[in-house]
């Protein structure tokens, strides 16, 4: 069954259903059987009417015999309709029913066609006209009902109309030939409309099946994803247990033997055993942090929110790091406003972050100062608490700052050897802040010192709520150099998305430029030095992520804020860790995009001069 040229947009998914054609045919057979009552009814009505109008023109015997044949046939059709309903045939069984239907319509066609010849009474023009009209009517009736199933339809039409047409044309008389004309037209119309309807129905049935298949695929994908997620959680739980179990013995016994050397006769082994103990503890920390990160990444970390006295927590953290501060000769001070409202947050996680920041400050500062200030800030329509840890230590270069929150990067090997640490602390701290709806940023100058600021919202995000609104980029107080042009470059391979974004941005007063793929995007970025870039990372070929990496590696272009548009929520962290200023998921909310751009390019902020 060919698809007619009138078909509209095709479904892009290639569904290799070897029996799709079979299923479509079976569906058509079903539809046509379901129409049986109306076709039968119509046929009987038309037949009765025909007999009535020809009663006086044609012999009663002929009429009644014909009528009888029609009635018997239609009864047979109703019976087969009912048997069809009862049988509920499968796709493969439908073939047989289809053949039965074709047989039935062929017989019906013969009966009606024979009327065209049997009742042909040229002497009575009125009867001829009635006959012609009724045949026309019967043919028309089949178009909406039987054209669904082409193998039945075309023979039927021909059988009903052709006998009369041929008979009239063969008569040679003009009035009779004239009556052939409407039926010829009916024949042509039936073919045309029949084909059209058949095509549309075919199309619609196919779409129905394709939708069904797509739903099945989506369902399977969902189940796969769920299973994969479950597998990951179970893996995490098992690993946690498996990795820590041997450490019980390593840490436990080495500690025993160093604390009670006499008992275990390990006086001589004290130093080596202490090294074993230290290594064991270090490994344990590493494992704990890795698992922690994995949990947060997987969204499996449970945050238990409470009302927390932030000042007290910070003072506790300072107390805990006292010996480290003394070891490095640093003075630690805490500044806090008097009436600080309690913050609704996870105290354990907040302590984790503060301890991380304070111990880092002590590690990278010698005989200097570490000032911790807590402030309440109003911004972006909400209240935030900021804990800033400022030190007068060695500071960081630009490159170091960029790599700072990456996993395992540490200032230098010497510090790691001196103080231990796993290099994961900051990465985890930032993930924690972000997961709680806030962010962690740094401002630093080599040789002068660094300030790390953790910002948390007064109200933590609810289950499922986005945590993106808390992102801070660039760090407050750190201004981006004013870019060369005020243009926004849109890098997206999908022309529809490009147009939409360009149009919406245009409406908000942004000049836009577009790039169709990664390479063009990079080229245009170098040409235009735009004020901001929107980057669709779901691009073929060179790929969206490599564009981001390339932009951030280029000395000139790295300052341009990039808004990454990703397909999955799980990619958002990846975007941020690769240096995106903002990450949004598809479908992009145009208002959020505009809002982000306003924020990044300094528009709409009172202290801007973009």
């Amino acid at each position: 069954m060919k698809r007619p040229a009138t078909s509209t947009a095709t479904v892009k998914v290639d569904l290799a259903y070897p029996d799709l054609a079979e299923r479509v045919r079976a569906e058509q057979i079903r539809m046509v059987y379901l129409h049986s009552p109306s076709t039968t009814g119509g046929s009987l009505v038309a037949g009765t009417f025909l007999i009535a109008v020809l009663w006086n023109t044609v012999s009663h015997a002929t009429l009644l015999m014909w009528g009888g044949a029609l009635a018997i046939h239609q009864t047979f059709r109703i019976l087969s309709y009912r048997r069809y309903l009862a049988a509920q045939p499968t796709v493969s069984q439908s073939r047989r029913w289809g053949r039965l239907y074709i047989l039935a319509t062929t017989i019906a066609g013969c009966i009606w066609g024979s009327a065209g010849v049997l009742f042909y009474v040229p002497e009575s023009i009125l009867s001829q006209v009635y006959l012609c009209l009724i045949l026309f009517g019967v043919a028309s009736l089949t178009i909406p009902t039987i054209s669904l199933f082409a193998p039945a339809f075309y023979p039927l039409i021909v059988l009903v109309l052709l006998p009369f047409i041929v008979r009239s044309l063969a008569s040679g008389h003009s009035e009779q030939i004239a009556l052939a004309i409407p039926l010829i037209i009916a024949l042509l119309l039936a073919f045309t409309f029949g084909r059209k309807i058949n095509g549309l129905i075919d199309e619609s049935i196919r779409h129905g099946f394709e939708n069904q298949a797509l739903i099945e695929i989506a369902e399977r994908a969902r189940l796969d994803a769920e299973q994969s997620s479950r597998a990951k959680s179970e893996f995490l739980a098992t690993m946690s247990h498996e990795l820590r179990t041997p450490l019980n013995a390593i840490i436990g016994y080495s500690e025993l033997m160093t604390l009670h050397p006499a008992r275990f006769a390990t006086q001589a082994a004290k130093d080596p055993l202490e090294r074993v103990l230290r290594a064991g503890r270090h490994l344990l920390n590493l494992i704990n942090e890795l698992l922690d990160m994995a949990k947060i990444e997987a969204g499996k970390a449970n945050f238990h929110y409470e009302d927390v006295d932030v000042a007290a927590l910070v003072r506790d953290a300072v107390e805990t790091t006292r010996s480290l501060a003394e070891q490095t000769g640093n003075t630690v001070s805490v500044h806090c406003p008097d009436a600080l409202a309690p913050l609704r947050t996870d105290p354990k996680r907040l302590m984790q972050v503060v301890l991380n920041l304070v111990s880092n400050a002590c590690k990278f500062t010698e005989r200097g100062q570490v000032n911790i200030s807590i402030a309440q800030v109003m911004s972006e329509g909400g209240k935030w608490i900021e804990v800033a840890v400022a030190d007068t230590g060695i500071g960081m270069t630009r490159e170091q700052q960029e790599r700072l929150f990456e996993d395992f990067s540490q200032g230098d090997a010497a510090t790691q050897r001196k103080f231990g640490g796993t290099g994961l602390g900051l990465a985890i701290s930032r993930r924690i802040c972000r997961a709680m709806g806030g962010d962690l940023v740094v401002v630093s100058e080599q040789g002068k010192g660094s300030t790390f600021t953790a910002r948390l919202p007064e109200r933590p995000p609810r289950e499922g709520e986005s945590t993106e609104s808390g992102r801070m980029s660039p760090a407050p107080g750190m201004k981006l150099p004013v870019p060369a042009t005020g243009v926004v470059l849109i890098i997206d391979d999908d022309p529809v998305s490009r147009e939409l974004i360009a149009e919406r941005l245009g409406r908000h007063g942004y000049a836009t430029a577009v790039a169709r793929d990664a390479l063009e995007g990079l080229r245009r970025a170098r040409e235009l030095v735009p004020a901001a870039i929107t980057l669709d990372v779901v691009m073929p070929g060179y790929g969206g992520w490599s564009v981001l990496a390339a932009l951030k590696e280029d000395h000139e272009l790295c300052v341009i804020p990039v808004i990454v548009i990703a397909a999955l929520g799980s990619e958002l962290n990846k975007g941020f860790s690769l240096g995106a200023a903002e990450c949004l998921t598809k479908p992009v909310d145009p208002d959020r995009l505009v809002h982000a751009l306003n924020h990044l390019t300094g528009r709409g902020e009172s202290r801007s001069d973009a």
Binding site: S240, H241, R244, R263, L284
Partner: protein, 122 residues
């Protein structure tokens, strides 16, 4: 001499804890290797304190604790729950099941012993 019932299925862990506690010179350690045996032992021998590993065969630690708390002779015995799992929910659930204190593994034995002392004194 105070007797401590340690319900633990892992032989290495049991051996280590016994070594640590016996260094204290005044603590006796009895081991049960699954939850059901642990509950029975708690009822029969009336230990002065129970150390309960949470993940046990036959009957898990949480259920074992609930049963000990339900038993007339064992109801009052102090219980310290021990968990190797990283999941936070263990702590809350352990307290809900009736423990008096909670330690994660690998165990910080110095701290554990301090906790044991405190509970024994109470």
């Amino acid at each position: 001499m105070p007797r401590i019932l340690y319900i633990e299925d892992n032989e290495d862990n049991a051996a280590m804890l016994r070594t640590w506690l016996e260094l204290e010179n005044d603590l006796e350690v009895v081991i049960a290797t699954d939850g059901a045996q642990g509950v029975a032992s708690a009822a029969r021998e009336a230990p002065d304190l129970v150390l309960m590993d949470l993940y046990l065969p036959v009957l898990d630690g949480f259920e074992a604790m609930r049963q000990i708390r339900a038993g007339s002779s064992s109801r009052r015995i102090p219980i310290i729950a021990l968990s190797a799992h990283a999941m936070e929910d263990d702590r809350a659930e352990a307290y809900a099941a009736g423990c008096d204190d909670f330690e994660t593994k690998p165990v910080d034995f110095t701290r554990l012993i301090a906790k044991i002392r405190r509970l024994l004194a109470a």
